[in-house]
Amino acid sequence: MSQKRIIGAVEIGTSKVIVLVGELDGRRHLNIIGKGQSTSHGVRKGEIVDLKAAAGCTHAALIAAEKNAGANIEGVYLAASGSHLAGFANRGVTNVSASDGSIRNADVARASADAKSKALPADRVYVHHMRTGSLVDGRRVDNPLAMVGERLEMTYWHVHADERKIQNMIRVVNGFGLDVEDVIVSSIASGSIIASQEEKAAGVLVVDIGSGASDYVLYRNGCIQRSGVIAVGGDHFTNDLSIGLRINASNAENIKHRCGKAIVDKRDKQEQVLMYGDLRIGDRPIPRNAIYRILHARAEELFMILKNKLGSALNAQNLPGGVILTGGGSALHSLGEAARPVLGVEVRLGESPSWVRDIALRRPEYATVFGLLYYGLSAQQSDDDDAQDVAGGGLFQRVAKIFNVG
């Protein structure tokens, strides 16, 4: 018997709050039935700095989404972003217990528990435990179950965050009378929907450029190998324009969207654009070249930081799938072309899968919320459930899952 649930994906971003409402049918089918959006307040660089203001705009988006969907949301998947997010790799080791050396669920569970047992500082909490691979007697294997060996190693990428900042985000949702069912890092959510399984297996980097920060996630062998946050986002481009052209932030944002480009094109050297574009009082011409140079400089810096962060992991050999840019900031014209010479790998703009029919949902700013729903429902989730799935789980847990309880 199918059981329908109404779930919401919430991204409290620096520039806007986006809510997507999905109808989940027996954990198999997902229908997007509504969306809501509001201008963000009280959020800076992906982190809440004014709880009341953030709650006000988030609740407005939730109300709009529920009205649009014509249904009440029952639970929320929440996107987490901000420079407080961090990650580290760790591996768990165990000796195979069976006399014949056959690896069983209990061995995998023991190695996984060992990998996750790393203690965090008091103000940090785990957000994800992403399994990155497994080794049997030092040899990499896709699935260690039933293989023969003496020593099993499970490698994980752990994502952790500042407890209070996560708590603030959860409180905003709780204030609306809803519980947060899962917290998912923005880049992981985006990556789950933007990158194909083949790209994830070959190696791909997904960069979600938001307003206040940019999140990235690196896939190899079909698993997340690394994730992180760069405190540079679309707002920095706007801010640079504002300072460089001596115009206010609103006009700078307008120019960035209207005629911004991340590379300097010598053919446009002599061209000028009007600040407002409608010859009103105060309208004045601005050289295109100046705009492009400012934006290019910031883009170059962004990708340079990314290259420095990833180091040797970011090269054409490790990333046959290249780099995928997504998020609202990726809409800047020629951003991919600006990134290519810096990163040294193929760069392309992310596109939602072809089965996403709604044109609006295919826009890059919806990648995170759409990915939240997709990631939350897909079997790719390798959080704490990972160990249970690998271990098979108890009979009660399986029955509870069927009936969606527990």
């Binding site: 709880l51 009341k52 953030a54 709650a55 006000g56 609740h59 407005a60 939730l62 109300i63 529920e66 009440n72 961090a86 990650g87 580290f88 996750k116 047992s117 790393k118 203690a119 965090l120 500082p121 008091a122 940090r124 909490v125 785990y126 957000v127 952790h160 965050a161 407890e163 996560i166 708590q167 959860i170 409180r171 905003v172 709780n174 204030g175 609306f176 009378g177 519980d179 947060v180 917290v183 704490d384």
Partner: protein, 317 residues
């Protein structure tokens, strides 16, 4: 980035899921309060609707059940009330059905007290018990009077009527008695029967006659079977009144005269007289035996007109 150090082991493996969510309402806004109010109102509405639905279903069930009961009265497939009639005498359920028609109403509406009184108004009924057994049975148990004598009433403008007299003096028109049983009962004479309501006035002193007849049936059954009339011309109900006697006319003795008390010795003497007369070849029938003289019996063998011609006609035992 690796965490530099862990402060305490009990903080190990802390997840965002450890952050409490329930009851945290610090970030409430007007919109969220409105939503919660709307949801509470909706929940209340649903509860009320379900309650109303349940009440409606119960009401419909009540109506259906009530309607079934009404239909049962309107066109019953069997009598609404089943009568169970039990008697220690001769009366049957037919007699009850003849005199007390099916009330045609629910058992709970029958007045048991008035029904009992109505049954007991019949002279043949000594007492009645009326009860109900749910769901639909009316139980009637009666004790009947036993007749000891018959009385023939001769109305001036109609055929004679045979009435029965019980030992307590009740006079009634008997029902359902076998004719053979009634034929054995002696008639009573020398009494005055008066109507009282639908029945007749009770007679005084019948206990005395009942005792005589009972003893005769037991002690002298042969003599009793020959008794035809018991006369109360000189008996007004007081067995010790001056000159009170009972006269019994029968087949063996045309007239036996008893004092209305101490019947045992008198019956014994009468038996001896009849037996002696039979042995002596006198009678039967003897004309008269007077048993009122203490332990003696005056026997008149023949009728008085022949006494003068046959001195042997009078003997004293």
């Amino acid at each position: 980035m690796m965490p530099k150090k862990a402060k305490s082991t009990n903080k190990a493996r802390r997840s965002w899921k450890d952050i409490p969510q329930h009851g945290v309402r610090h970030a409430s806004t007007v919109a969220s309060k409105r939503r919660r109010l709307a949801m509470a109102t909706r929940t209340l509405g649903v509860v009320c609707a379900l309650g109303a639905l349940a009440a409606g279903l119960m009401f419909v069930a009540y109506l259906v059940r009530d309607n079934q009961q009404r239909l049962s009265f309107a066109a019953p497939t069997k009598p609404a009330v089943e009568v169970v009639f039990e008697s220690d005498g001769v009366l049957s359920r037919g007699w009850f059905a003849e005199h007390f028609r099916d009330p045609g109403k629910p058992l709970r509406e029958i007045d048991l007290r008035s029904l009992k009184e109505g049954i007991e108004r019949h002279g043949q009924i000594h007492s009645a018990r009326v009860s109900v057994r749910l769901p639909d049975q009316l139980i009637v148990r009666v004790q009947e009077r036993e007749p000891i004598l018959r009385a023939r009433l001769q109305p001036s403008d109609a055929d004679p009527i045979d009435l029965l007299i019980a030992s307590d003096g009740t006079v009634y028109a008997g029902s359902d008695y076998p004719a053979q049983a009634l034929a054995r009962l002696p008639y009573i004479a020398g009494i005055r029967v008066s109507r009282e309501g639908d029945g007749f006035q009770s007679l005084q002193g019948m206990e005395t006659l009942a005792e005589l007849l009972r003893l005769a049936r037991v002690e002298a059954p042969e003599l009793y079977r020959g008794w035809r009339v018991v006369s109360c011309e000189q008996y007004d109900g007081d067995p010790y009144a001056l000159n009170a006697v009972l006269r019994v006319r029968g087949r063996h003795v045309r007239e036996a005269v008893f004092l209305p008390h101490d019947f045992g010795p008198q019956l014994e003497r009468l038996k001896q007289v009849v037996e002696h007369a039979r042995r002596e070849g006198v009678g039967p029938p003897l004309h008269r035996v007077d048993l009122t003289l203490d332990s003696r019996a005056v026997v008149q063998v023949t009728a008085p007109e022949s006494v003068s011609t046959n001195v042997r006609g009078n003997r004293s035992f």
